[in-house]
């Protein structure tokens, strides 16, 4: 069963514009949510996790249990933010479930 939904396959924004990547999950308990990023020709790496509540590279994500969402936001996109972003979820069975990913292109 699909646990993580990323509705946008592609997202294009201009440099300096805000960017928001949507992620919704289906789980009634207390999940762990993550955002992973894969830059061109690089390996998948952790960007941030909700329990850390920290901002990485200007990105933030807030877990909204009421809306079962974990959207990723950045107020001013930079060209180096162009990458593939995956939302991931872990329930108490410890396995990571990934969304299908969103490709972000930041245009100059």
């Amino acid at each position: 069963a699909q646990r993580v939904t990323q509705p946008e396959k592609l997202l294009s924004v201009f440099k300096g514009a805000p960017v928001e990547l949507k992620c919704n999950y289906s789980y009634s308990g207390s999940p762990e949510l993550f955002w992973y990023v894969q830059y061109s020709r690089q390996r998948l790496q952790l960007l941030l996790r909700h329990i850390s509540r920290e901002s990485i590279k200007g990105f933030t994500a807030d877990l909204n249990k009421g809306e079962t969402s974990f959207h990723l936001k950045k107020p001013f996109a930079q060209e180096e933010d162009s990458a593939m972003y995956y939302c991931a979820f872990r329930s108490n069975d410890y396995k990571l479930s990934f969304g299908a990913g969103t490709t972000v292109t930041v245009r100059a």
């Binding site: 390996r43 952790l46 995956y86 410890y94 990571l96 990934f98 990913g101």
Partner: protein, 116 residues
């Protein structure tokens, strides 16, 4: 320090051939995971090792898939009698601690398998 490495990076196999994919985790990492990533999709869990013990293999798609980690470090994912639907990127990840501690997973570069 060295991250997770995988070999080969690319593998082309004819349908029906057996393949073996290798993963070298970060030294000392307890947990090791294998994922399968089909084109246009996110990674999907295949199996999990804690040291040499395979604690979960629920994601392996068929009995043609077999994974081992005999000494608790290097792991091999073997696919027998490959089929076209096995074409994907196979990712390995390791983490420092056992799963219950929820430590970060570090991913390898992946092996892209193409079955012709």
């Amino acid at each position: 320090g060295a991250g997770v490495s995988q070999s080969p990076r690319y593998k082309v196999a004819k349908r029906g051939q057996d393949v073996a994919l290798r993963c070298d985790p970060i030294s000392g990492h307890v947990s090791l995971f294998w994922y399968q990533q089909a084109l246009g999709q996110g990674p999907e869990f295949l199996t999990y090792f804690q040291n040499e013990a395979q604690l979960d293999k629920s994601g392996l798609p068929s009995d043609r898939f077999f994974a081992e980690r005999p000494e608790g470090s290097v792991s091999t994912l073997k696919i027998q009698r490959t089929q076209q639907e096995d074409s994907a990127v196979y990712l390995c990840a390791s983490s420092q601690r056992a799963l219950i501690y929820s430590s970060e997973q570090y991913f390898g570069p992946g092996t892209r398998l193409t079955v012709t």
